[in-house]
């Protein structure tokens, strides 16, 4: 569904096959664990069995004595004295703890051996003496003054730092208008408390890294990462090694969703390689991934929303506590940027609490913080709709943010598509026929994610045959070789097939920030556009003497160079073949800093469920995902992002959770018991792409990776409420939870 007239693009909006596709359907593509270097050793991490303990001693002698073991490293091998790296103290402790372990699964040592089986045996032989401490797993419990303290030096950042040690990392306050007056003006007020559990991104490829430290100090790293440049930077600091001597080559990446931004294995493999003089590969297994990487926070969110009797939102308050895991994070701060951003509400006050608990250090997961916030807020919107006897979509439409409304951090929105998404939902074939049948319910919800811009840099080279190589520094996690090549093809007026995109190492292109925040097709697309323009300019300059006309006489339009009088002309490929095929090489670059906020993206979901009244099982009958893509560069890949986000949201809503036992151990750290949705658990996911061009991008592109996961949690909760009459305030809405809330069993 195209909302506004958009320019007639030739390549953008088509659905070519991705350039890396053949390798990925034939098994040729090389992912993190596929790097096999001659003579490489295999590494394994020794991990803490305790949720909270002081490390008294680490004895590696028995491990070192095992036949086939080549080296063992601990935090003492990191850059700083005693394993403290002053610039990245938390990251250092997180990859190799020296003083305390703050969660079960935290790494304390690593082994390199001639094969993985021996490395595993050696890990068992490392003896770590612990003094076990009381642990805290629940975010609200951790905020209490009597909670076990994770970090004695922590003081709360924010208005009330307090004087004692605390687990509250930061208190973020966002306030607009006069909250008390706002609620006083309301005719209807709804409020409730919600909670969600820690969940994992669930990428299928475990982390894997290979490092080779040459005698001259050149360090080469191959890793599956969402950020080869950030990985280089982190390794430089953790190893106290100049970035000029570190080259990070990103392999193909088997999913990330935010979970493959941080380094875990890379610096450790580097240390083991330095010690042994051989390449060292470390591959996580699935338990390592669940226990030792960064899932996304569990939350506790109290929300209050008030409206006038005609349905106009007047005031909103939220108290949001987000688990950061073992070390400081900023999820609750993000939550204050998104929870009310979808609506025009004059009076708003938001308190965000980032809190440490004895669980893995949390990381981003697709629109980090937003799904849990929407789970809370969008249920209250539905409650208001019920109380006011208004259609839930029309109530949202009446209050939706639009151009000029207050957005994240109080900044006014530029053109955004929330209203258009809601209109698309209202007019959809899904919403119009009423849902029939017993035990069934329909729910809707909106979602917002701010999207980020940040820095991107690409190199573009013209080949003698007039084709163009595009080298980028962001990992292709779901089709960005295609989406960037398409934007370059559009810019320079050539066929998609004439662009050959490649993802290159950190030595071969300018700085690129993370492959995250829905930024690559957006920001790297801007860099590509910039490079394309530079390329045209350079070709024009070189063409002028050939055509014997002044540069100003040459125009480039619609893929063709021509003199203003029309006497001479040639397509890009013809001209490039002439100029470069017979002349010197031509390489240009495009580099941008697209800023922090990238225009924001809205998504909406309509979902039908059936709830088995006897077992509490929720079945998803039908799901429609609606999203503003700005301009859909490759519509099939946009649909894929929407469908993937929807199904991750379904998993999060219904079954996924870190299930902890009393000892602070995750009891379900396998794909058997951490239940990702299977193909049998979901229906086809219908999509409606809305296109409200993003004024921040030359082609109107918006990031599309993240917003799709924001609405499903709330939409499903609203649907379950309609099916059962019971409001769901806690995730997951597992059969067990539904039985508890509907039949009181449990």
């Amino acid at each position: 569904m195209v909302i506004e007239n958009k320019p007639k693009y030739k390549v953008i909006g088509t659905r070519p096959v991705r350039p890396d596709g053949i390798d990925k359907v034939t098994g040729r593509a090389q992912y993190g664990a596929d790097i096999h270097m001659q003579g490489a050793l295999q590494g394994r991490m020794k991990r803490s069995p305790h949720a909270h303990a002081i490390i008294k001693n680490i004895d590696v002698s028995k491990a070192l004595a095992l036949d086939g073991v080549k080296a063992v490293v601990t935090a003492q091998d990191l850059a700083g004295p005693g394993g403290d790296v002053s610039t990245l103290p938390d990251a250092a402790q997180n990859i190799l703890a020296s003083r305390k372990v703050l969660y079960r699964g935290q790494a304390v040592a690593a082994v390199a051996a001639i094969n993985d089986h021996i490395a595993q045996e050696a890990v068992k032989l490392i003896e770590v003496e612990y003094e076990v401490l009381p642990h805290v797993l629940d975010v609200r419990e951790s905020m209490r003054p009597d909670a076990p303290i994770l970090n004695e030096t922590m003081r709360t950042r924010g208005p009330n730092p307090g004087d004692g040690a605390t687990n509250i990392v930061a208190h973020t306050v966002a306030a607009f208008g006069d909250i008390e007056r706002g609620f006083a003006e309301c005719d209807v007020i709804v409020e409730n408390e919600f909670s969600t559990k820690m969940v994992h991104q669930g990428y299928i490829e475990p982390q894997a890294a290979t490092a080779s430290w040459a005698p001259d100090g050149q360090l080469s790293i191959w890793t599956t990462t969402q950020g080869s440049f950030p990985a280089r930077e982190a390794c430089a600091q953790l190893l106290n090694h100049p970035i000029s001597k570190i080259k990070v080559t990103p392999t193909e990446i088997g999913g990330g969703f935010g979970g493959k931004i941080s380094v875990y294995l890379e610096p450790v493999a580097a240390l083991l390689s330095r010690k042994t003089g051989k390449p060292v590969a470390i591959r996580m297994d699935r338990i390592d991934v669940f226990e030792g990487t960064g899932p996304t926070p569990g939350t506790s969110i109290k929300v209050k929303l008030g409206a006038t009797k005609d349905g106009k939102f007047r005031a909103a308050y939220a108290d949001m506590a987000y688990e950061n895991g073992a070390f400081a994070g900023s999820a609750a701060m993000y939550a204050t940027m998104v929870i009310t951003a979808g609506y025009e509400i004059e009076h708003v006050k938001l308190d965000g609490f980032d809190v440490v608990v004895n669980k893995p250090r949390t990381q981003d997961y697709r629109a980090p913080s937003a799904p849990a916030a929407a789970f809370a807020f969008e249920q209250l919107v539905d409650e208001l709709a019920e109380k006011l006897k208004l259609d839930p979509l029309k109530l949202r439409l009446m209050n939706a943010s639009k151009e000029g409304s207050r957005g994240p951090m109080g900044m006014p929105f530029k053109r955004v598509g929330h209203e258009e998404c809601l209109e698309a939902a209202l007019n959809s074939p899904h919403y119009n026929p009423p849902l029939e049948g017993p035990n069934r319910g329909r729910g809707v919800a909106s979602g917002f994610w701010f999207n980020v811009g940040l820095r991107s840099s690409v190199n573009v080279s013209v080949q003698p045959d007039g084709t163009v190589n595009l080298n980028e520094g962001n990992t292709d996690i779901g089709g960005t070789r295609a989406s960037l090549a398409m934007q370059l093809a559009e810019t320079i007026g050539v066929a998609f097939e004439d662009i050959k995109p490649g993802v290159v190492d950190t030595d071969s292109v300018g700085v690129n920030d993370v492959t995250a925040g829905s930024r690559v097709t957006f920001a790297s697309g801007m860099a590509v556009h910039e490079a394309g323009k530079n390329l045209i300019k350079e070709l024009t300059t070189r063409l002028a003497p050939t055509w014997q006309v002044p540069v100003e006489e040459i125009e480039f339009e619609d893929g063709t160079f021509k003199t203003k009088d029309g006497a001479k002309s040639g397509t890009f490929k013809e001209i490039a073949t002439q100029v470069v095929g017979r002349g010197v090489g031509l390489t240009v670059s495009g580099s941008v800093n697209a800023g922090f906020l990238a225009g924001g993206g809205f998504a909406h979901a309509i979902v039908d469920v059936e709830v088995d009244p006897e077992t509490g099982k929720v079945t998803i009958l039908r799901y429609t995902a609606i999203q503003d893509a700005g301009t859909a560069v490759h519509p099939a890949y946009v649909e894929g992002q929407m469908q993937g986000g929807a199904v991750q949201g379904i998993g999060w809503a219904i079954n996924e959770e870190y299930y902890y036992d009393e000892s602070g151990r995750m009891a379900n750290s396998s794909f058997l018991d951490y239940r990702l949705p299977t193909s049998l658990d979901v229906p086809m996911i219908d999509t409606i792409i809305v296109e409200v061009p993003n004024p921040l991008h030359p082609f109107g592109v918006r990031g599309v990776g993240e917003p799709g996961i924001v609405p499903p949690l709330a939409a499903i909760a609203n649907a379950v409420c309609h099916a059962t009459g019971v409001r769901q305030t806690q995730l997951p809405m597992s059969p067990r939870r539904i039985l508890e809330t509907t039949l009181g069993i449990g």
């Binding site: 096959v17 359907v25 034939t26 098994g27 193909e252 779901g478 099939a636 894929g640 993937g644 794909f671």
Partner: protein, 163 residues
């Protein structure tokens, strides 16, 4: 005890001989001993399907098979699904239908779907979803994968000789 055993098996049509330790899984043997890294490790305990291969005519998780059990057997991996330059119809439809994003689960899905369509060329959506329930994908939400398998089945029914 940890000596290496001689194993001979037909892999993707080629007779291959290799040595492996009995504790090595077929997946380890394929990836680490034979350099065939198309089969992926996602869970190493039979719950994700990323390592699916067809062994002696049936679909198995290579992580749940010992390498030594391959003795005398026949194995088809993702590397053996295309014939020369001709992609298998499933490989073609996975590309055309945008059925992969990160691609890590793709080899397992294609091998699993091939095992299904070889056995049941008329499999419908419900059957495909049931058959593929042992293969996890976290990127696509399965929609385009199921479409790709349906489309490949269609192609294969129309051009049976090619397959």
């Amino acid at each position: 005890m940890s000596g290496r055993t001689y194993v001979s098996a037909k892999i993707n049509g080629e007779q291959m001989d290799f040595l492996c330790e009995p504790r090595q899984s077929l997946l380890e043997v394929l990836r680490d001993e034979l350099g065939m890294t198309g089969s992926k490790e996602g869970c190493n305990n039979g719950n994700c399907g990323a390592c699916n291969v067809i062994m002696n005519g049936v679909l198995v998780n290579a992580c749940c098979v010992l390498g030594v059990e391959a003795q005398g057997g026949t194995i088809v991996t993702i590397e053996g699904v295309a014939s020369g330059e001709d992609l298998h119809p499933l490989q073609r439809t996975f590309l055309d239908d945008a059925a992969l994003q990160c691609g890590i689960c793709t080899p397992g899905f294609i091998v699993a779907a091939k095992a299904l369509l070889d056995k049941e060329p008329d499999a419908d959506e419900a059957r495909i979803r049931h058959w593929l329930a042992g293969n996890l994908c976290r990127c696509t939400g399965y929609d385009k994968i199921v479409h790709a398998v349906l489309d490949a089945a269609d192609v294969m029914r129309k051009t049976p000789a090619k397959v």
